[in-house]
C-alpha cells in the first residue's frame, strides 16, 4: 500500500521491542464484541492511483461546470478568475501540510500570512481588526449575533429580509438553542431595501440588526442611518458581505459605522467547490475584540528582539477557557485564508478597484440587455455585480430549461424561498469579469425564447 512505509520485517521487529506477540495484542483493550475481524462490508481492497482517478473522474464528468458555458449564479458564491499562481502557492507543502501554528518559532510563514490576512480583511471591511478566519460567511454571521448578545446583554436580533436565506436558517437553528429571539422577514421584489423597516423595529431589547450589503437581491443602500439608529438604542449593527469584490467599488460597512462586519471570502482566491470549503471573514471595532470568536495572530518580538508573530488573546478560546469560551471553534479556514490573501496581494488596491469596476460595468450592461426582453422587469435601482429580474413567470423551471441549453442562468428565488409565492418569478443574475458579452447575449436570447 503506497502510503504505508512499514515493511513486514519492520512490523515484526517493532512488535519485538514492544513485547507483543502480534498486532492483536495491541488491541487487547477492545472488547471482543466490538472487534471487527472480517473485511469492511462491500469496500474493495486497496486501489492504484490510476484506478481511483478513473472512478473519481467519471463522477466529476457527471457535473456541468461553471466553465462549460454562460454562467450567472451568485447568491453567496461567485465565479471569479483566480490567478494560476494562487493555487500553486497554496500547494507548497510547507503551507498545505502544516498544522495550526502552535509552535510559533517554526510557523512564522503561516503566522505572518495570517497577520497580513487580518490586516487586508480589516481594511476591506472597514473595521479596526479582523480575526484569522471562520468556517464561512454563514457561521461567521451567527457567531456575530452571539457576540452582540454578549456585548449588549440583550437577546433580540433583527435580521434584514435581504439576508441570505441560508444565513437566516443557520441563525434560526442556533437561536433555538441559545435562546435568542430572531425577527425575520421575507424580501419583496422592490428596488428599496428594508432599512426603514429595520430602523422602526429597533427597541431597547435589540442586541443587533443584521443587514447584508449588497443584499440577497443584489441591492445596496447607505447603512449610515441604520447604524445611527442602532447606536441610539445601544444596539449593534452587524453587516454581512457575501461578495467582497464589491468593496473595491463601494464604501465598506465599517466606513458607515457598522460595529461587526462578517463576510464570505470565497470570491477572492477560493473556487466555487460546490459550496465549500470557503473562508469566513470577521472584523469588528477595537473595543469588542475580547468578545470575538476564533483565532487572532498578533505581532510581538522574540528573545533576540526580532519581530515575530504568535497566536494571541487565546484566553477567549476553547482550549484555555473550555465552557467559558467565546466560541467552540478550533480549526478554521487557514488554507482558504492563504488563498484569499495571495489573490488579494496580487490584485492590490489598484487591481481590486479595476476588477470591481469591470464587474459592475458588465452587470450594468447585462441588466440593460435583459430588461429589454418583453415581460422582464429589473427590480434593482442600485446594485454592484448582481441584480434581480422579475420574469413575470415562475423562474425555477426556466432556469431548469436553460440548463438543458447549456446556460446556467442564475439563482431562481424559488430555489431559495420555495414557500414564498410572491418571489417565484424572481431570478438573481450575477455578472463577473468571467462573463462575456456573448454570454449575456446567449442568456438574453434563450430567456426571450422561454418567455415568448
Amino acid at each position: 500500500m503506497r502510503y504505508l512505509p512499514l515493511t513486514p520485517a519492520d512490523r515484526h521487529e517493532m512488535l519485538g521491542v514492544i513485547g507483543a506477540a502480534s498486532i492483536d495484542d495491541l488491541f487487547v483493550d477492545v472488547p471482543d464484541a466490538a472487534r471487527l475481524d472480517g473485511p469492511i462490508h462491500g469496500l474493495p481492497m486497496h486501489a492504484s492511483e490510476m484506478a481511483v482517478e478513473r472512478h473519481m473522474t467519471a463522477l466529476a464528468r457527471q457535473n456541468m461546470t461553471a466553465g462549460d458555458g454562460p454562467f450567472f449564479l451568485g447568491c453567496g458564491a461567485y465565479k471569479h478568475h483566480v490567478p494560476a499562481s494562487v493555487d500553486h502557492l497554496i500547494q507548497r507543502g510547507e503551507f498545505l501540510t502544516a498544522y495550526t501554528p502552535y509552535q510559533p518559532e517554526i510557523a512564522q510563514g503561516t503566522l505572518q500570512m495570517l497577520f497580513e490576512f487580518q490586516t487586508q480583511v480589516a481594511r476591506m471591511l472597514g473595521t479596526d481588526v479582523a480575526n484569522a478566519s471562520m468556517y464561512d460567511g454563514s457561521t461567521a454571521c451567527w457567531e456575530a449575533i452571539g457576540m452582540a448578545r454578549r456585548i449588549t446583554r440583550r437577546g433580540k436580533a433583527i435580521l434584514s429580509s435581504g439576508l441570505h436565506p441560508h444565513y437566516v436558517s443557520v441563525a434560526r437553528t442556533m437561536a433555538k438553542y441559545t435562546g435568542d429571539a430572531l425577527v425575520t422577514a421575507t424580501p419583496t421584489l422592490t428596488a428599496d431595501t428594508d432599512i426603514d423597516t429595520l430602523i422602526a423595529q429597533i427597541d431597547d431589547d435589540t442586541s443587533c440588526v443584521v443587514v447584508q450589503y449588497p443584499d440577497i437581491l443584489g441591492r445596496i443602500a447607505d447603512l449610515t442611518p441604520l447604524a445611527d439608529a442602532c447606536h441610539a438604542k445601544k444596539a449593534l449593527l452587524i453587516a454581512v458581505v457575501t461578495e467582497p469584490v464589491a468593496m473595491g467599488a463601494i464604501r465598506s460597512p465599517g466606513e458607515m459605522d457598522a460595529d461587526i462586519v462578517v463576510g464570505e471570502g470565497q470570491s477572492i482566491g477560493v473556487g466555487l467547490q460546490f459550496g465549500g470549503p470557503y473562508v469566513g471573514l470577521m472584523g469588528c471595532k477595537d473595543k469588542y475584540i475580547r468578545q470575538m470568536p476564533g483565532r487572532f495572530c498578533g505581532e510581538t518580538v522574540d528573545a533576540d528582539g526580532r519581530r515575530g508573530f504568535v497566536l494571541t488573546l487565546s484566553t477567549r478560546e476553547q482550549h484555555i477557557r473550555r465552557e467559558k469560551a467565546t466560541s467552540n471553534i478550533c480549526t478554521n479556514s487557514g488554507l482558504c485564508a492563504l488563498a484569499f490573501s495571495i489573490h488579494m496581494t496580487l490584485l492590490g488596491e489598484a487591481g481590486l478597484r479595476r476588477l470591481a469596476a469591470i464587474n459592475h460595468a458588465g452587470a450594468c450592461r447585462a441588466a440593460d440587455r435583459l430588461s429589454r426582453i418583453p415581460g422582464v422587469r429589473l427590480v434593482n435601482d442600485l446594485f454592484f455585480n448582481e441584480f434581480t429580474i422579475d420574469l413575470g413567470k415562475e423562474a425555477r423551471p426556466i432556469v431548469r430549461a436553460l440548463a438543458d441549453k447549456g446556460i446556467l442562468a442564475g439563482v431562481s428565488l424559488g430555489r431559495l424561498y420555495p414557500a414564498a409565492d410572491a418571489l417565484a418569478t424572481g431570478l438573481v443574475v450575477a455578472v463577473t469579469e468571467t462573463t462575456s458579452e456573448a454570454d449575456v447575449e446567449a442568456l438574453a436570447t434563450a430567456l426571450q425564447e422561454e418567455l415568448a
Binding site: Y3, P5, M14, I18, A20, A34, P39, I40, L43, P44, M45, E49, V52, E53, L59, L73, G93, E94, L96, T97, Y99, M113, Q118, A122, R123, D128, T139, T173, K176, Y177, T178, M247, I250, G275, G276, V279, G298, T300, V301, R307, H319, R322, E323, N328, C330, T331, N332, L335, M344, T345, L346, L347, G348, A350, G351, I358, H360, C364, D381, R400
Partner: protein, 523 residues
C-alpha cells in the same frame, strides 16, 4: 543575532557566530527574512492583468467608494517570492515527522489534491439545478455510505465544517431529541477532565451545564463515578474514544448502556478514530453520535489551521434529528434534501448548520483516500498507527515518565509527563529542544489530567527509520532536560525565531499592521 552563552555544543553553527559578522541583509543563506506586504507592496501595483478600455457603470448611487482602502499589491514574481519565502519558515508534515498528539498529522496524498481540483468538482456552484450536479451529489452519497459502514452507525450528517462544528451538530441533535420527548429538565452534560476544550465549549454553547468526570489512575474515564452521576438531569455524556491519554475506553459499552438506561445519550468525540478505523465500529459500542475529522483520519490537509470537515454519524435514535441538507438516492439519481423541501419525511431535523452543503473539497479528498486504501489498507492504517505509537512508548518509557505505561497498550498516541526532569525544566523546554533537532514538537500540556503532558502521535505514515531518528532525538533532549542543560531553556537556537514573547502580544495586542506597529511592540 543570538549568541550562545551557555557553552553547549561548542562546535554548533551558533557558537561560531561570535567570529562571523551578521550579514548585510539579515538573511542567513537559505534562511531568508521577509518583510510584510505592507512594507514591500504599493497600492498602485497589481499582479493581475485586466482587459483594457473604459468601464462605465452608474448603478452605485452615492455609495461609490472614494477613500483609499490601503491594500498593497505585488507583481507576480514578487508575490510568488514573498509567499515562497514565508512558506520556508514553516515546519510541515512534508518536511518530517509531526507528532502532534490528537491532531493526527499524517501524510497528505497528492492524488487527493488532484482529484479535488477536477473542474467537475472544483468549478461547480452549490445552487446549480441538482440534475446538473449529479456527480457531486454522488460523491457525497458514496462518502456518506463508507462513513456509515466504517462506523457501524445508521446515518451521517455531512455538512459540519470541522470537528468542533460536528460536536455542535451531535449535541444539537441530542437536544432536539430530548425536546421532542418533552424531556427538557436534562441540563447537564458530563465531560471527562481529559476531553478536548471544544467538548465543554460546545455543550455550553448549546445551553447545557458541564460537569467534569474524573479519570482513574490508569488514564481512563472513571466509569463508576460517571454511572453514579447519571440521573434525570443528565442529558448525556461526551467521551473521546480512543481517549486523549491514548487509551481505549474498555468500559465504553457499559457506559453507553448505563447512559441509555438513565435516559441520556452518548456523544463520542471521534478525533482519534484513526486508531480504530477498520478494526472497531463505534456503533457496536452503543454510541449515538460521533464526529469524524476528515482532516485527521482521512488525510485531508490541515493547511496551517483548516479547512477541516466534521461529518457526524448518528444512531437510529438520533437520525431523525440530523441537520439538513443531505443527499438521498431516489431512483437512478440523487436529490438534495433542504429545509424547504424536507417536508414531513424529515420534520424532526434540527435545521441547517451552514450555508450550502458542507466541505465538498474535503469530501472528494476523503473519498479518494478511502478508495485508495480499500478495506485492507484502512485496517492496516489503524494497525500501523497503533504499532508506531506503542513502539515510541516502549522505546522511551525508561527515559521519560509514562504515567499510564502500565495501563495496557496505547492506541494511536503515547503519553509522557515532565516528571523526573531537572528542577525548573518542563515540557516546553523539551518541545523547543526538539525544534532544534528538526522535529515539530508533540502536543504540550494536554491532556490536563497529566502534569506537563507530552502527547506523541506518530501516525501510520512514518517509516521505522523516521521513528528511530525521532526516538533518538527525543531521548537526547530528554536526557539534557534531566541533566539541567541550560541551553535548552533558550532553545530553539536554529529556528527562524527564538522564543517569542507571548505575554507582550496579549498585553498590547497588535492585530493589524500600522506604520507604527513595530515601534509600539518594541516598547
Amino acid at each position: 543575532m543570538s549568541i550562545n552563552q551557555s557553552g553547549w555544543r561548542p562546535t554548533s553553527p551558533d557558537a561560531a557566530q561570535g567570529d562571523v559578522p551578521a550579514s548585510f541583509t539579515g538573511n542567513k543563506a537559505l534562511m531568508l527574512e521577509e518583510r510584510l506586504i505592507f512594507e514591500i507592496g504599493s497600492t498602485d501595483t497589481t499582479g493581475v492583468d485586466f482587459a483594457e478600455g473604459d468601464v462605465a457603470g452608474s448603478r452605485l448611487g452615492n455609495l461609490t467608494r472614494k477613500a483609499s482602502i490601503g491594500l498593497p499589491g505585488l507583481a507576480e514574481p514578487e508575490a510568488v517570492r514573498h509567499y515562497t519565502r514565508l512558506s520556508r519558515q514553516n515546519y510541515a508534515i512534508d518536511l518530517g515527522l509531526f507528532p502532534l498528539g490528537s491532531c493526527t498529522m499524517k501524510h497528505n496524498p497528492r492524488l487527493n489534491e488532484k482529484m479535488a481540483r477536477l473542474p467537475g468538482f472544483a468549478d461547480v456552484h452549490p445552487l446549480q439545478p441538482t440534475d446538473t450536479v449529479q456527480g457531486a451529489l454522488a460523491v457525497i452519497h458514496e462518502l456518506a455510505h463508507w462513513l456509515v459502514t466504517l462506523t457501524g452507525m445508521a446515518s451521517v450528517a455531512m455538512s459540519p465544517k470541522a470537528g468542533a462544528h460536528g460536536e455542535l451538530c451531535g449535541i444539537l441533535a441530542i437536544k432536539a431529541a430530548l425536546a421532542k420527548r418533552g424531556d427538557t429538565d436534562r441540563r447537564v452534560i458530563l465531560v471527562p477532565e481529559s476531553a478536548h476544550g471544544t467538548n465543554p465549549a460546545t455543550a455550553a454553547f448549546a445551553g447545557f451545564s458541564v460537569e467534569d468526570i474524573p479519570a482513574t489512575d490508569e488514564g481512563r474515564v472513571d466509569s463508576a463515578a460517571l454511572i453514579a452521576r447519571l440521573g434525570p438531569d443528565v442529558a448525556g455524556v461526551m467521551i473521546t474514544n480512543p481517549n486523549t491519554c491514548g487509551l481505549f475506553e474498555r468500559d465504553m459499552k457499559a457506559i453507553s448502556d448505563a447512559v441509555h438506561a438513565a435516559g441520556g445519550y452518548v456523544y463520542c468525540d471521534g478525533a482519534n478514530f484513526n486508531a480504530i478505523v477498520g478494526r472497531v465500529r463505534p456503533g457496536d459500542l452503543g454510541i449515538d453520535a460521533m464526529h469524524i475529522n476528515l482532516h485527521k483520519t482521512f488525510s485531508t490537509p490541515h493547511g496551517g489551521g483548516g479547512p477541516g470537515s466534521g461529518p457526524v454519524v448518528f444512531s437510529d435514535a438520533l437520525t431523525p434529528f440530523a441537520p439538513l441538507p443531505f443527499v438521498e438516492k431516489q431512483g437512478d439519481g440523487f436529490v438534495l434534501i433542504e429545509e424547504e423541501t424536507a417536508g414531513e419525511h424529515h420534520a424532526s431535523s434540527f435545521g441547517r448548520m451552514v450555508a450550502f452543503h458542507g466541505q465538498m473539497g474535503m469530501f472528494t479528498r476523503a473519498l479518494t483516500y478511502i478508495l485508495s486504501h480499500g478495506a485492507d489498507g484502512l485496517r492496516q492504517v489503524a494497525e500501523d498507527a497503533v504499532l508506531n505509537a506503542n513502539y515510541i512508548l516502549r522505546s522511551l518509557d525508561t527515559t521519560l515518565d509514562a504515567p499510564f505505561g502500565n495501563s495496557g497498550p496505547c492506541m494511536h498516541e503515547a503519553l509522557f509527563s515532565d516528571d523526573g526532569l531537572a528542577e525548573g525544566f518542563s515540557t516546553i523546554d523539551i518541545a523547543k529542544g526538539l525544534i532544534d533537532e528538526g522535529f515539530h514538537p508533540m502536543t504540550m500540556y494536554f491532556p490536563l489530567v497529566v502534569h506537563g503532558a507530552m502527547l506523541v502521535e506518530p501516525t501510520e505514515t512514518e517509516s521505522k527509520a523516521a521513528l528511530d531518528q525521532f526516538i533518538g532525538a527525543l531521548r537526547s533532549v530528554a536526557e539534557r532536560a534531566k541533566a539541567g542543560d541550560q541551553a535548552l531553556k533558550s532553545a530553539p537556537h536554529f529556528a527562524p525565531r527564538s522564543r517569542l514573547d507571548e505575554t507582550l502580544a496579549a498585553r498590547k495586542p497588535v492585530l493589524v499592521w500600522k506604520e507604527t506597529a513595530l515601534a509600539v511592540a518594541a516598547e
